[in-house]
């Protein structure tokens, strides 16, 4: 198993009375493209900001490249090896495209001028235009350019394809995939675009209300999560499954639908034992895994 470039254990952050992070755990393997999923306000951005030293944790450990993110001197070293695309694409509005590239190039010790030139060309960014006159789409591309040229081992992206047309999205994802493939860069992608994650991520973490619900390789999720659809002759009974790994069970009329994290066969067998007329074990999309996992967590929280 690859060593972890980011390790977060029991991370907590409280703002006054609001608990933004309530014991978050995360392990990002080196060289992976890790998707961070969660509802708005789940704590994703807070976690990323803590990683970058913008926010100080209330408690817990958080390290990147083996360095502590909550110690200023070490955080500085982390930022030498990490780059960031913020959700707002917050850049210096009065600088030109070329100006901000020059600015960043002087601050990152391992800046890749060759990549910056390549991306400038591929993304068709006008070097002399001022940042404040760029459309949101172009500012997004510029933010990506800066992050991918920084020579960073870890690239953190917050909603990086939000607001982009499909072509621009594909273009940028292609650059990311290329960067990861060529230099073993690790990417941490916080996003609502599940399609992006399913396409390029090999690791997924689902976060809700400041806690981690899922942290696993994407292929493992695809291999083990199943939807078991059970049809009964009469109204579907409520079954308390003995099989572990049941995430959620919902019945509507004669149909009982069970989302299973593992041991779908066990669940299928139990259902048949209870007199099911038909049992289907079906694949699950990431969207369903996300929705069911978070919904279940929500109802657990309310219970």
């Amino acid at each position: 198993m690859a060593d972890a470039i980011v390790e977060i254990a029991d991370l907590r952050k409280t703002y006054g009375r609001v608990e933004a992070l309530a014991g978050l755990n995360l392990r990002v393997p080196r060289g992976a493209i890790c998707g961070l999923l969660g509802r708005n306000g789940a704590g994703k951005t807070t976690a990323l900001k803590t990683l970058l030293g913008m926010v100080r944790p209330t408690s817990g450990t958080i390290t990147a490249h083996g360095l502590a993110a909550d110690v200023p001197e070490q955080s500085l070293e982390i930022r030498r090896r990490t780059s960031f695309v913020s959700e707002e694409r917050d850049l210096y509005s009065s600088m030109s495209v070329a100006g901000i590239v020059r600015f960043a190039s002087g601050l990152y010790p391992r800046w890749r001028a060759d990549l910056a030139a390549e991306y400038l060309r591929k993304l068709d960014l006008p070097p002399d235009r001022s940042v404040k006159h760029l459309s949101r789409g172009m500012r997004t591309k510029l933010a990506w350019l800066l992050a991918l040229s920084a020579g960073a081992e870890l690239v953190i992206l917050d909603e990086p394809t939000a607001g982009l047309d499909p072509m621009a999205t594909e273009e940028l994802l292609q650059l990311l995939v290329g960067r990861v493939a060529r230099d073993g860069v690790t990417a941490l992608l916080s996003t609502h675009q599940l399609a992006d994650i399913e396409q390029v991520a090999d690791h997924v973490a689902i976060v809700d209300r400041g806690r981690t619900l899922v942290d696993a390789p994407l292929d493992d999720l695809r291999a083990t999560y199943r939807r078991v659809q059970v049809v009964f002759a009469g109204d579907a009974p409520q079954i308390a499954f003995a099989a572990r790994g049941v995430v959620a069970a919902r019945s509507a009329g004669r149909v009982l639908t069970v989302l299973v994290r593992a041991d779908a066969d066990g669940v299928a067998a139990e259902a048949r034992a209870r007199g099911a007329v038909s049992v289907d074990v079906l694949p699950v999309t990431l969207k369903e895994i996300f929705l069911e996992t978070v919904a279940e967590e929500k109802s657990n929280g309310l219970a």
């Binding site: 970058l52 913008m54 200023p72 930022r79 913020s86 850049l91 509005s93 601050l107 990152y108």
Partner: protein, 254 residues
């Protein structure tokens, strides 16, 4: 790079303020021609029964008998002092990390220690206040002959230096206010309010002592003595306020 950005962020502001001060200096020098004609004709008794107004008027008339007195009374003691405080506050306001309120997260994500941003901004700011205080001051000995007078370069340097210290204090205050409130507008207002409060407190309580009173060079004008305690206080305050700004910036969440 960081220093370049600090300069880049404030250069238009600085250029404008500098131009304004140069213009005002010239105006004051040339006004001497009118003042020179007018002052001898004034009589404090026109103030009528109001003793405060009458004594103020008497003071003004006494001072403005000479070019040196006029320059101190009207320019260094009043208008220039007000300008320097306000302009220093303008130069010190606004986050050291962003430009016109944008780019904050970008700055924070860069491999630059937070203190370094502040340090660069403080250094550039101090240099700018120094320029704003000294250059217009040195303009006076240069322009005096045009109005048929002369003005000591030493006097200009001393008054300029004293006002530089006064201005620095409020530059530093504005930087501390900006570190706490982020917003340019609010920082400026806070600093202006602080300046007014200090000024009024000095008038009401200190009987002729205090930052404003000393650093506008009254003692030097009258007897050539430098206000050492206030100079030290000014420098110490500037240092303390900037340190406070750095400490706050280092600890806070963004």
């Amino acid at each position: 790079m960081v220093w370049h950005k600090a300069w880049h962020d404030t250069r238009w502001r600085f250029a404008t303020l500098f131009a304004v001060l140069v213009a005002l200096t010239c105006f004051h020098v040339f006004e001497w021609l009118d003042v020179q004609r007018l002052v001898p004709t004034l009589d404090p008794s026109v103030a009528g029964g109001n003793a405060t107004v009458r004594s103020a008027l008497a003071e003004a008339i006494a001072a403005e008998q000479t070019f040196r007195g006029y320059i101190w009374y009207q320019w260094f003691d009043q208008n220039f002092a007000t300008c320097i405080v306000l302009f220093a506050a303008l130069l010190g306001s606004g986050s050291a990390l962003s430009t016109s309120g944008r780019g904050l997260l970008f700055s924070l994500a860069l491999p630059v220690a937070r203190g370094r941003w502040l340090e660069a901004r403080a250094a550039i700011g101090v240099a700018q206040v120094l320029a704003l205080a000294l250059v217009p001051s040195l303009l006076i000995p240069l322009l005096a002959p045009v109005v048929g007078e002369s003005y000591s370069v030493t006097d200009a340097l001393v008054h300029g230096a004293l006002l530089f210290v006064l201005g620095s204090v409020f530059l530093a205050f504005a930087m501390l206010a900006s570190a706490i409130v982020d917003d340019f507008g609010r920082a400026i207002v806070l600093t202006a309010v602080a300046a007014i409060v200090v000024g009024m407190a000095e008038v009401a309580l200190s009987r002729g002592h205090g930052l404003f009173h000393a650093l506008t060079g009254g003692a030097y004008y009258r007897s050539g003595t430098l206000p050492w305690p206030e100079l030290v206080l000014g420098v110490a305050l500037t240092g303390a306020l900037i340190y406070g700004a750095a400490a706050h910036l280092a600890r806070r969440d963004f």
